[in-house]
Symmetry: D2
Subunit: 89 residues, 4 copies
């Protein structure tokens, strides 16, 4: 499987969210819940970066080296879009 | 239960993460996975904001209006800390 | 003057932006410009945090301990708003 | 000049920072200063995105289509790095 590292990290994040839900069920202190959410966010940032890195080395490289100009433009535009969203979230 | 809205949103986010894991299992295109992760991040931002808002109206207000100076300082310091982390994630 | 530390940092940031403008004028490599912009963003995050911390200890504490309920609500709402914006930028 | 749009935006941002410095000098309300800093941050995000987009269409495309494997790897690694930093600031 590709992305094995990212896959495992996402499984951990799913468990982490489950833990935060139980914390809320047990009326844990709000700030501790916010801190856990922020930890999940940092973990998700890492997953995005890992997936992007693999994408650049595979799909993007293939598309940019290929002769299909539309495909090349599409793939570059996608990178610009996810970068712009990353700066905003 | 307090935080009912935030609680429901977190349950949805847990399901959303499960969906992303299945996408990865099915070798969905990397950029579509990154976009879903970014959608989860936006949803988590919203949950943090909801919880913080309730915290300000309850715990923080009680602490700041109270006479325990240490408690007051602790609660204000926590807000500064989660704000600083929010600017970085 | 209040906020002296934040003030000095902002003056430095202004100079930093001036430096980036000169880099662009000299056709410096795009990625190096993006890195400098990201350094400015980190510096601005720090300034916001410093100002917020002082605000919590002064204006917010006064308002929350005061008897004007509207004022109290307004001040708490502002914190929630800048926190939400911080999660998005 | 390349990047003319980004260049003009950075000049405006420099002026915006100057305005925030004057606000601090005049003891403007803390929250209004934080809001202006957040507006600058959003504007800087936009500049980064514009520069990245041009970089992808020019330098990155040239490097990835070229035969220098080290250069290609370096350019892809840079994109991964600025993306990861973008998720954290």
């Amino acid at each position: 499987m590709k992305h094995e590292d990212a896959f495992k990290r996402l499984k951990n994040i799913e468990g982490h969210i489950g833990g935060i839900i139980r914390m809320m069920d047990n009326d844990v202190y709000c700030i501790d819940i916010i801190r856990q959410i922020q930890a999940v966010q940092a973990a998700l940032n890492r997953v995005s970066s890992i997936i992007l890195e693999q994408h650049l080395d595979t799909c993007l490289t293939t598309a940019v080296r290929g002769e299909d100009v539309d495909e090349r433009e599409r793939v570059l535009k996608e990178i610009a879009e996810v970068f712009e969203t990353a700066t905003r979230t």
